[in-house]
Symmetry: D2
Subunit: 336 residues, 4 copies
């Protein structure tokens, strides 16, 4: 197959990064860009003089010269744009979260299957050196069976008018959690607060997995300090990922608990083990470059990406459950 011809919809906050990376990849040609905002298009034209730009997304969605569409717009527009792209025979790369509802996600997955087209949901973090390294450590059994996953993603944030802090920030953590824990969640509990506007600006999610595995996610738009820290506790070793560290993002702690005596017995003896700490080298390449290159590969070779529509759907289901839970101050919402 020759170069894949990609059209991009959306040139707001994240779109310029997608366009810049696509331009740098030899496996593709960027053929058109649409945005409803003429000022955005003018910025794009200055940087990419030859690029065809338009305010009409339909031009991109229906063009016969386009093989794949990258949708980099607000979540409430994803379903309509992706549906049209698929119906017009185009592969879809779509910003996270995948869709506004799980029904929309299911419909798109079904449509793509029928049309034999690929969907990739842009869970960029899964392509960072840090998350890849965590995946390798878990695959290698370094941490042992997992106990918990506890992530904080807080800062004085860009308030969104259309979504809560859960839909804005938690998709990152949920996608990473999904990638790391590799099991089917059982239930979600979400608590939080709304101080400005009508959407929660601070929220805490607990996700229950089988075998007492537990995840917790703290997202907050109202924090004076920026924190991007994930703790992963395993029976053998424990890991801390601080994404704000430049050089030692991941630390593996040879620490843990040794239980003597049968578990469940009242008088079990618990003792502590504390050894060396190790910061494995983490690749510094730009995650979006790796991800888009993988997207082009999947399209060219007709194989399903691991961050496909189904992966996107899993995250949307948890977001929906969190919404349901927080609306009732933390009701336990089972995930069937």
């Amino acid at each position: 197959m020759s170069e894949i011809r990609v059209g991009v919809i959306g040139y707001g906050y994240w779109g310029p990064n997608v366009v810049r990376n696509l331009f740098a990849l030899e496996a593709c040609e960027v053929t058109a860009l649409s945005d409803r905002n003429p000022a955005a298009l003018q910025r794009a034209r200055r940087t990419y003089p030859g690029l065809h730009v338009t305010t009409d997304a339909d031009e991109v969605l229906t063009s016969p010269d386009i093989d794949a569409v990258a949708i980099v717009t607000p979540v409430w527009t994803h379903y309509e744009l992706a549906r049209k792209a698929l119906e017009n025979g185009k592969h879809v790369f779509v910003e996270k979260p995948f869709t506004s509802t799980s029904r929309q996600a299911e419909a798109l997955i079904e449509l793509a299957e029928r049309k034999k087209l690929q969907i990739m949901v842009d869970h960029t973090f899964l392509f960072t050196g840090a998350v890849k390294k965590i995946g390798e450590l878990i695959d290698a059994g370094t941490l042992g069976p997992l106990l918990y996953f506890d992530s904080s993603r807080i800062n004085l944030g860009l308030f969104q008018h259309d979504v809560s802090v859960i839909w804005d920030l938690a998709p990152h953590d949920l996608a990473i959690m999904d990638y790391v824990i590799r099991d089917t969640p059982e239930a979600v509990v979400a608590t939080g607060g709304t101080h400005f506007g009508k959407h929660a600006d601070i929220a805490f999610l607990t996700i229950y997995f089988p075998n007492n595995v537990l995840a917790h996610i703290n997202v907050n738009w109202m924090s004076p300090v920026k924190v991007r820290t994930t703790l992963i506790g395993g029976r053998e070793k424990m890991l801390v990922w601080n994404d704000l560290e430049v050089d030692e993002k991941i630390k593996v702690y040879d620490k843990g608990v040794t239980v003597t005596g049968a578990e469940g017995v009242y008088d079990l003896l618990v003792s502590y083990r504390s050894g060396d700490v190790w910061a494995p080298k983490v690749a510094q390449t730009e995650a979006l470059t790796t991800e888009l290159s993988y997207f082009l590969d999947c399209v060219a070779q007709g194989c399903t990406p691991f961050n496909d529509g189904t992966a996107g759907l899993r995250v949307v289901r948890m977001l929906e459950a969190a919404d349901q839970s927080i609306a009732d101050r933390g009701k336990v919402v089972p995930l069937s």
Copy 2:
């Protein structure tokens, strides 16, 4: 009034600190110490050759030469020991959490009132320079109306056989929260996990207050790193207290959100304000010294401490609610 004669029950982990501080205070005389463990008593005798020690707590509780008793034993023993002390006309200084149940706490409060005796619950953190400074900042209106309180108290912990991580660590945060928020909580949601033995070793509490004020507490015995951080968000300023910092424990951030347009309106404009950061000097004196000195003052002058039985009861009620909630994976438990 002359020197107050104090008896101490319990010389395990915390007891030696109580005894050492009482010995240093001129307003009191330590007249007896009991512990069921003869080895503990021997350690005490080496350090305080003149001190009367006994394995029989009743000796302390009934001695006519004792005005006040410090109870520094596991929580499940507090009620019986405190009841006996009060019945024998002695003031009580009791380790946190106050009691195992709110009914026990209520009974002790009622008994103390009837006998005109003082109860002080040892919420030591309320006497640290850091918490006092936070209280002053809130009193002065520096932070403006509060939005949230978010505290993490995690480390590879001393597993307790008789209580969960909630009853072990969260009393600190609940007492501090109670002191800082100064309002009546409406409901508690607790989630968590049990990986060893039968008690939760990791737990997340959300406490709802009126006016959308929210508290969150993260306690964890299974963390490879020690964290002691509390974020307090106010409408005017925000504060971070990192108790592991030696020199700049408290930082006040001149950061926040400015809302233009009526709240609730869809198109409200939210803009960010980011200014200087300020680390006020925090007194470095030992909190327990200040607290015990205050206890002796309250006893001598017959006034009720702010950390009295009622304050202890408020914490116990939240602990009970958390237990109820976590047993059902995060059920919302209202606090009447």
Copy 3:
């Protein structure tokens, strides 16, 4: 005056930043770029399709359509290029360090004066929010009379073939020191080590000023960790600038020493004062943008920049003295 026409010489490591910033400034037009490396020119052409590029610097230096030249090449080329530019009536913006010798610097200054042209030496750090804020604090007398300046600039560095770590890294610190201390240095002592090649890769400079004011600079290409920290001690307050901090680059400590009794007396009493810490907000704009805009202003209005050739010469003199000192393992070299 209309747009100033600028030619750029050098498109290696720093050149692209200069070109990008000049393109963004409305007060100027970038008319030509030269570099001896055709690959560099090709990179430039891709980004700036309309820009005239050439491998022949003389084209830029002699073009009648150019008002000012930015010289962004290795230091050993500065003198010849700047001389030719000035002789051809062009203003000069030149990379730090200004020249390889103080005689070269003096000759260029004299030539520019004669031709009534401006020279600006690119001491970029002087245009950062952090250094500007430090300057304001010193102007306002916040720190009181200065006692010392102690700077560390260390990391696993890009080894230079043509210069030592002193000429590579210390010009930053010397320019900042010159800006902050505002006095004439008396002597330089430099020690250091050479472990690879023939130039020092680790060096320590002490610069003596009148009134017991002292500066120390630690530069190291062989450090496993990156450090960019400057301590400035004043009699009233002390300041730490950590340039690697994102949010609180500058901290002002209300700490110091109070001397009771006449100084010099044996039994003087020295006591310590320790108060609040304060992190003033620091502007986050790109320093090079501000600096180049200032350069264009100076050219347009015919005024001498504060970072002119004379400022560049002061730094070169200290570098020469450091070379002399380190060659003899730390001989004291007076600055006349």
Copy 4:
């Protein structure tokens, strides 16, 4: 041999730690304590009711019931006290720095040899888990041949009336450097400043060793922040020891430089290697306990400690050279 009977002279800042540790060691008996300050003696009597205390050091120095004397007094008193102790047949444990001059040190060493007595100089840091671990890593060749040692020991300090910051703080670094580098220094350069009283309060030492190995020590009583950091660069790996870290005091960086082509050749290629980081577990026992126990062993078994008078003399010689150097603003002072 039965219990060693130890007398202690000096109960000021460090003396109480020596006494407390000696009391805890079974191999010795503390038989007497002297201090010229009656208030200090009273404090000691309260804690150790049975201990014989006196204001007359001679009582301790001449007592027939004492085998060894610990001298924990200001440096200018060390020589006279140690001489008398040795002349009276007592082993000597003496605070650092060993003596005020190298001649005094030489005289004491000669006297101890003649009398077949042990001298141990209290370079406590050599007995910390951190320094022991560094020694093990160097012994194991982990770092490869050393390149440099760079240590900072700065804070708002306790001004000493009788000595400069060099004699107060640098003995720690010089003893550690001596232990780590294991070679004979060639020359010392010291620069610094005097802002209060007559002794330097800020100083920078460079110590030259054979084979281009270099040490640098930054000591400062006038720093608003406390820093205790040592960088050790080796050809294979590099190490950072941050003594203020609680959990990860030592980090070993798999970083370095690879040189291709013969060294000294102009066109040598230098490339960078950057791999994992590793924080080995460091023992947390109190260094002084280990050191005093080792002292008692050496006395009992008649063997010479590695931190003997000769080790103390090496440090004193460097301090003398530093004094000579700083007096002339950084003159190079050879160590014969």
